[in-house]
Amino acid sequence: MSTDSLTAGKSTRRKTSRAAKPGPQSPDGTLRRRKGLSERNRPLWMLIPGGLLMIVIIVVPLLLGIFMSGLDLDQYSLRQWVSAPFIGVQNFVEALTASPLLHAIWLSVSYSLLAMVVTIPLGIAGAVATQNAFKGRALIRSIFLIPYVLPSFVVATVWRTMFQPGSVIDSMLHSVGIDAGLWLNGPQSYWTLILVQIWASWPFVYLLALSGLQSVDHEVHEASALDGALWWNKLRYVVFPYLKGPLSLAFLIGMLHHINNFTLPFVLFGVPAPSDVELLPILTYVTSFQSFRFGLSAAMAFISLILIAIPLFIYLRAVKLDDAETPGGKK
């Protein structure tokens, strides 16, 4: 790429986005603008490799899983699983009425949300603080990444060791006169989980926020710098709007990662988990790999999938993340 093309791009950019905004749009996203480019010579084949992979390795097994959720599949019928008795919705009924599934979903969603609420400001702070060049910035940027780079298994083992009664954290708190009680059992374990999750996943938000910051136009910086804008105002009104897209995505994906995070609670609390942290992945794992009731477990996972997908799509609509031509609603 050449500098020329870059500057060219920059100067035309405003125009483009301004032109984009009033573009006629219908809700299903069919956009009439630039029909010439869009309709002619569409390289739709580029979707095929990824699509094929996802169909074979995600969709097909998912359907298989859904099929299994209708079977009375347990250790006694596992070997001939295809001919396991079909029991319709019984697994779903059992999951909803006779298992702690709903409680687990509630725990999973609420903990994910709480962890997310803290990681987002942390991630933004980290990204903003390392945006400006300074000596050692590369090092600090890499340091920030460490929690995310350590395998969950290690993170959980380390924190479990530190949260042990009478261990490092307790003795530190004790020296300042706090008796914190149990971290890995009882009601507090819920907060322990949130704490560790925040530690492990804020770099994820940080990374996305950092990539978002790179898109802030130079003119914007110049303008606000020349205006002598207060740094806070500059951040609030000039820079943050640029982060809306990546952060909406970070929020969504972060939530899903938290909800589906199995290793962290599993290593942190073991099985059977204290009822305060009997999360969704733990429940499905125990049901399928310890109690060997795969049918029931598949039904649980399927119910949770649906319960999580609904808010997900409401959210998608709300932040217009899926709507290509109005990113962030800025400018």
């Binding site: 490799p49 995600i58 298989l64 299994m68 000596k135 490092v168 999938l305």
Partner: protein
């Protein structure tokens, strides 16, 4: 950390020339002291547990199990023993191979997919975008068994052995990385101006040409971010890797877990070696990031994630 603050405070901010190396000055977002506080707090947040891992790695296992922070005895022996006891070399080689190729291929595939999804209008476009996120929410614990059944039946019916090979693992991670990588690229590509592509097209560039020569160079930050995610997905997974690998294709994360697991009625796990091994495992990723992070520098591209 201390150098950070002084450096940030001292730099003047007159040089606004776009594309210049000193352009960062203009982008200064915060007063020095504020920056110092944030950097110190965040570094402490990260480094204290990391310091604990390091100290544990030179401590005795009994010391770790008894909850010491500062070791009562020092020994760096763990850093040499792990290579034979954990089988770290094979593990790391496999992890680099699998996670690395996942990162590269998923970045390339997702940029192509995202490009089509962002630039072209067609029926089902929105459905695909949403379905991608839907797929992202499928729990791994639900997928392990069916994916295994699928792969093992490929050996039974097609005669292709997938289980136990690195490429079976690679395909799995690639697929699970695709939805997210694609989304990162979608949000990123939306910010890129169309004019460049159109100019290139007028010059007769093909779709592929536009993608490789215009889009790819402009979207490095997005590529790096989605590549890192894909890499870490493969690097850290144990759920799939533990059932789908064999000793010779085992990844580092699995080797570590096998090593760190304490046994029933058994003795103390080798905490020291495990901590040493996990630091060693983290190192390649941090180094990789050190190399690639310069592509995350702002201002070079006109567009960006919005």
């Amino acid at each position: 950390m201390s150098t950070a603050t002084t450096a940030a405070g001292r730099r003047p901010s007159e040089d606004f020339r776009p594309g210049s190396k000193r352009q960062h000055e203009v982008t200064r977002l915060m007063p020095g002291p504020m920056l110092a506080i944030i950097l110190t707090v965040l570094c402490a947040l990260v480094l204290i547990p990391v310091a604990y891992i390091f100290l544990a790695s030179v401590n005795s296992d009994i010391g770790v199990a008894r909850g010491e922070f500062f070791p009562s005895s020092f020994s760096f022996e763990n850093y040499s023993t792990i290579w034979s006891s954990v089988g770290l070399a094979t593990g790391l080689a496999n992890s680099v191979l699998v996670a690395g190729s996942t990162a590269v291929v998923s970045a390339l595939m997702s940029i192509a997919t995202a490009y089509v999804l962002v630039r072209y209008q067609f029926r089902g476009r929105l459905t695909i975008l949403r379905a991608l996120l839907g797929l992202q929410s499928v729990p791994g614990t639900l997928m392990v068994l069916p994916v295994f059944v699928l792969f093992s039946s490929s050996a039974t019916y097609l005669g292709i052995q997938v289980i136990g090979t690195q490429w079976g693992l690679f395909l799995t991670y690639l697929t699970f990385a695709m939805p997210f990588s694609t989304w990162v690229m979608v949000t990123y590509l939306r910010g890129l101006p169309r004019e460049l592509e159109e100019a290139a097209r007028i010059d007769g560039a093909s779709n592929m040409g536009v993608l490789l020569r215009i889009i790819l160079p402009l979207s490095w930050p997005g590529v790096v971010v989605s590549g890192i995610f894909a890499f870490l997905l493969g690097w850290n997974d144990v759920l799939f890797a533990s059932v789908m690998t064999r000793p010779e294709s085992q990844t580092a994360a699995v080797a570590l877990q096998v090593f760190g697991a304490s046994q029933e009625g058994g003795a103390i796990p080798f905490y020291g070696q495990m901590m040493a091994a996990s630091l060693v495992c983290a190192a390649p990723v941090v180094i990789l990031y050190l190399i690639f992070q310069r592509y995350l520098v702002g201002g070079l591209t006109a567009g960006g994630v919005k």
